[in-house]
Symmetry: C2
Subunit: 203 residues, 2 copies
C-alpha cells in the first residue's frame, strides 16, 4: 500500500516568487514538511547540516545514486545536488505531505520515478511582470536580467508537463490555490483508499 | 508543447467487465481511439493486421524496443506483446484521446514513461461478486476460478498506484463516471494551456 502523505513538486522560474509561496505554505500547514537536499559542496557560513542541506562527501553521494536512493539529482559546478529518498518516504508514511522545491529537470525526473507525486508550476503573471520584478530587485545588471528572462522562457515551456500551473499575481491567492489543489488531491487519495478497502473487505 | 489529446490507461482484473466498459466508451465518443498492440505471435483465424494487432516479426519487435518506440512491452509464452508509440502519438497530436486496455504491469510502465497519462482501474463491487461473476460464466472449473481470484487479489493491490479507481457495479454508471473523469482531465489540460499561453503572450 502506498504512503498516506502526498509528495508535492514545486517549480517555477527565478522571479516567480516560489520561495515566498513555499514559506507561506509551510506556515499554514503543520502537516507539511520541506524536503532537505543533499549536496557535496562545502557548507557556507551559518549553514547547518540537516537544516539547510545534508552535507555529504562525493563518495557518499555516488553510493546513494548507485543504490537508487535519490529521487533526483543533478551536477552543478562539479558538485552533486539531489533529494535523498529515505527521509521523504519516512515522512510520507507518517502521513505528512512533503514539498520539494526543485528546478524543472529535477521535477520531471521525480514524476517519472514517483508518478503519484503532484507537480505544481508557479508562473509569473506575464513575462512583462517578470522583467519588472527582476529589475526592481536592483541586484543584477540588465544583461544578466535578460539572460534570466531567456532561462525563464525555456523553463516555462516545461510547465506543460506539470500537473498544475498557478499564477502568482497576488501571493495570498496563489497560496490559497495551491492549498486547495493539495486538499483536493488528498481527498482523491482518501476516496481511492476507501473504495479499494471496501472491495477487498467484502470477500 | 505536449499533445492535445489525453492518453488513458485502463486496467482491471478478469471479471471486472473492463472489456464491456471499453466497448461502451468507444461507442459514446467519436474522439476516442483504441490503441492497437503489436505482437510477434501468429494471427488466429479471422484476426486482421492493424485491427486486432500489428503482427510483426521478433526482429522488428526487438528493433522497436531498442529504438525506444514502445510505450510498454511484455513477454508471454515466448512471444512479445507491446504498444508501439508512433500511432498513439499521431492520434494524441490530432487531439484524439487514446485508450490502452492493459494489464497492471504495463500500466505502471506507461505512467513512468508518460506521467501525463491518466490511469483508471476498474474494480468489481467486491471479491464476492467477482467470484459469482466468474462462476456464472460456466467456462472454468472451480480450481481455475480460485486461481483467477488469487491473481485478481494481487492485481487489485496495484490499484493504489492508479490515478482513479472506478467500481463497475452498474455498467452505465461506471461508463458515466469514467467519461466524467476524462472530461474533467481534458478541461484541466485546456485550462493549463490557456494560462501558460496568456503568460507567454504578454511580453
Amino acid at each position: 500500500m502506498p504512503s498516506k502523505g502526498i509528495l508535492i513538486v514545486l517549480s517555477g522560474p527565478s522571479g516567480s516568487g516560489k520561495g515566498t509561496v513555499l514559506k507561506k505554505m509551510l506556515e499554514k500547514s503543520i502537516d507539511m514538511k520541506l524536503s532537505i537536499s543533499a549536496t557535496t559542496r562545502s557548507p557556507r557560513v551559518g549553514e547547518k547540516h540537516g537544516e539547510d542541506y545534508y552535507f555529504i562527501s562525493k563518495a557518499e553521494f555516488i553510493q546513494l545514486i548507485s543504490k537508487n536512493e535519490v529521487l533526483e539529482h543533478t551536477e552543478y559546478c562539479e558538485n552533486y545536488y539531489g533529494t535523498p529518498t529515505k527521509q521523504v518516504n519516512e515522512w510520507l508514511e507518517k502521513g505528512k505531505d512533503v514539498v520539494l522545491e526543485i528546478e524543472v529537470n529535477g521535477g520531471t525526473q521525480i514524476k517519472k520515478k514517483s508518478p503519484s507525486a503532484i507537480s505544481i508550476f508557479i508562473l509569473p503573471p506575464s513575462l512583462k511582470v517578470l522583467r519588472e520584478r527582476l529589475i526592481a530587485r536592483k541586484t543584477e545588471s540588465i544583461d544578466i536580467i535578460e539572460k534570466r528572462l531567456q532561462i525563464a522562457l525555456k523553463e516555462i515551456q516545461e510547465a506543460y508537463n506539470y500537473d498544475y500551473v498557478v499564477v502568482n499575481d497576488s501571493l495570498d491567492e496563489c497560496v490559497e490555490k495551491i492549498c486547495s489543489i493539495i486538499s483536493l488531491e488528498k481527498n482523491k487519495l482518501k476516496e481511492k483508499f476507501n473504495i479499494i478497502r471496501e472491495v477487498l473487505e467484502n470477500v
